[in-house]
């Protein structure tokens, strides 16, 4: 067993793990910053809601669906010029973040919309009857009442990001995916592949565990 792991460069593995975590946290921040407002707008412009705007809703919905139906590997390559324009490079951790954000933000926005739809319509009505402005409605009612759904949305999105980040290794994105492809696949070092997969598994499990605990913590029902 020890022999089998003999030629693994643990320093390199640690470096790759760190890169994956950087890609995950860096992109997650932007995904939430962009996806949360987009999800709120999707919800509010939807049928029967406060800002009901069938045209706007359909347009945003189409955009979200187009991005979501694009395989991430293709999106990565298509976005290279955009990425270079934003960050100056398409490589490494920094180069991986723009495509990750563009792929995951619409996904997250859709989950936000779904979570907001779970809010009892009576609560929205009560808030409006109290004289709430739209901003107050969102901040004091919609987001707190959808808290559990929103935490679950962040959890699911971050797990999707782990998978996408690994894929970005295919075009030089760095991280565990990059390691798995270069050593595990191209150099036939199955042991490196196994270790990276185990690390990714542990990461996903940890994210899910934290997410579930937070949901339970914030349950008031």
């Amino acid at each position: 067993m020890a022999l089998w792991f003999r030629d693994i460069d643990w320093g390199q593995i640690a470096q790759a793990t760190l890169e994956t975590l950087q890609m995950l946290s860096g992109s997650l921040v932007f995904v939430v910053v962009l996806g949360l407002p987009l999800g709120i707008v999707l919800f509010l412009t939807g049928n029967g809601q406060r800002w009901a705007q069938p045209g706007v809703y359909r347009g945003l919905s189409l955009l979200v669906n187009v991005i979501r139906s694009m395989p991430f590997v293709i999106l990565l390559i298509l976005l290279i010029p955009v990425t270079v324009a934003i960050t100056g490079t398409s490589l490494g951790v920094v180069g991986a973040i723009p495509p990750l954000v563009i792929a995951a933000a619409p996904f997250f926005a859709r989950l936000v919309e779904t979570a907001l739809r779970e809010v009892e319509p009576g609560l929205i009505e009560a808030a409006l009857a109290m004289g709430a402005s739209d901003a107050q409605l969102i901040m004091a009612v919609l987001l707190p009442e959808a808290r559990r759904g929103l935490i679950a949305a962040v959890t699911v999105t971050s797990i999707a990001l782990v998978s996408d980040a690994a894929m970005s290794g295919a075009i030089g994105g760095g991280g565990l995916g990059d390691l798995a492809i270069r050593y595990g696949y191209q150099r036939f070092q199955t042991n490196v592949m196994v270790v990276t997969v185990l690390l990714l598994l542990a990461l996903v499990q940890t994210l899910q565990f934290i997410g579930d605990r937070l949901v339970v913590h914030f349950s008031r029902k």
Partner: protein, 339 residues
């Protein structure tokens, strides 16, 4: 007489579902006086809920004029509308408390919306409200930990946080058991007197109207078919829809009642007594004086907002009928000939 607090003039409301238009309210004309408890009753689908929501403009009328407190409500801009809504509290059948906030935070919510953020002022008002509605010990609980009656008390405290002039009640007791219903209705009566609050209440139960309302409007199929003082409308219903609601609340089956009446001989009268007269010894002395005999076909003694009333259906046999009727009239009894 002072002008009415709320005035609805030929209001209509239609909903569009796809291409078809569904009328919810048609030709509604109502005046609601300051300080009264105004009830709106009707079967489900009669348009009660739409009517109530017109007053705080959660629903906009399709046509007609809506005035309140010298304001033309339909002409308000968004900021003016929010200001108006702060003067109108609202409570709901399912309470609509925020599950993510404590009792104290729920009660504080309208104050925060109104821009009161400074600690002491906010805290003082919330403490005062919680104390008034016996919620002090529950301040840090979440709604899920409360009983239905407690939830509605929180709803009332929250609705009154900004010292509104008007309280809208949307089926406030329909999700509560009979005992809690009584307590909540008593509380509504108390705040009506205590704060001079005008209350507009919708319900499908005549008993609720009987216990708290001063005046009532009956809605049927989107139209207002009858409006007047509760005693007047309940004891002498004119419209078939009203009669149906009254009989329903008295648990009387119309066809069975008809059979009972058909079995007895002689003319049949309905006697209505109100106030102290309800307790007077009456039948025996009138029967003696007029030499008539009587059989009681049905009877009921109850209260309308605390004032007792009695209603008896009698068959009068033999004797001097006109003397009997004159005697009843003399004693302030309202007599109606049914047959």
């Amino acid at each position: 007489m002072p002008p009415p607090l709320i005035e609805l003039v030929s209001i209509a409301k239609t909903y569009k579902t796809g291409k078809t238009e569904v009328p919810a309210l048609q030709d509604i004309n109502l005046e609601i006086e300051a300080g009264e408890v105004f009830g709106v009753i009707g079967p489900s689908g009669a348009g009660k809920s739409s009517l109530l929501r017109l007053i705080n403009l959660l629903e906009k009328p399709t046509s007609g004029r809506l005035r309140a407190d010298a304001l033309e409500l339909t002409a308000l801009n968004p900021a003016g509308l929010r200001r108006w809504r702060r003067q109108v509290g609202m409570i709901f059948q399912h309470f609509n408390l925020l599950t993510s906030k404590t009792v104290a935070e729920n009660v504080a919510l309208p104050l925060r919306f109104a821009g009161i953020r400074r600690g002491p002022e906010l805290r003082e008002r919330v403490t005062e409200l919680l104390a008034r509605f016996d919620l002090s010990t529950l301040a840090q609980r979440y709604p899920a930990q409360l009983s239905g009656g407690q939830k509605q008390r929180v709803g009332i405290a929250r609705a009154l946080a900004c010292r509104p002039k008007i309280l809208l009640c949307d089926e406030p007791t329909s999700a509560l058991d009979p005992q809690t219903t009584k307590a909540v209705l008593a509380l509504l009566n108390a705040i009506n007197r205590e704060f001079g609050l005008t209350i507009v209440l919708i319900t499908h139960e005549m008993d609720v109207i009987r216990q708290v309302c001063d005046r009532v409007a009956v809605l049927d199929g989107g139209r207002c078919v009858e409006v007047g003082p509760v005693a007047e409308v309940l004891l002498h219903p004119r419209h078939p829809a009203t009669r149906r609601l009254v009989l329903e609340s008295e648990k009387v089956d119309e066809t069975e009642q008809g059979k009972d009446l058909a079995q007895s001989g002689g003319p049949i009268f309905r006697l209505t007594l109100r106030g102290e007269a309800t307790y007077e010894p009456l039948l025996g002395s009138v029967a003696q004086a007029a030499g008539v005999d009587y059989s009681i076909l049905s009877g009921r003694i109850d209260r309308i907002k605390g004032v007792p009333y009695g209603q008896l259906t009698l068959a009068l046999v033999g004797g001097d009928l006109s003397t009997a009727l004159a005697q009843f009239a003399e004693r302030g009894v309202h007599v109606e000939r049914l047959r």
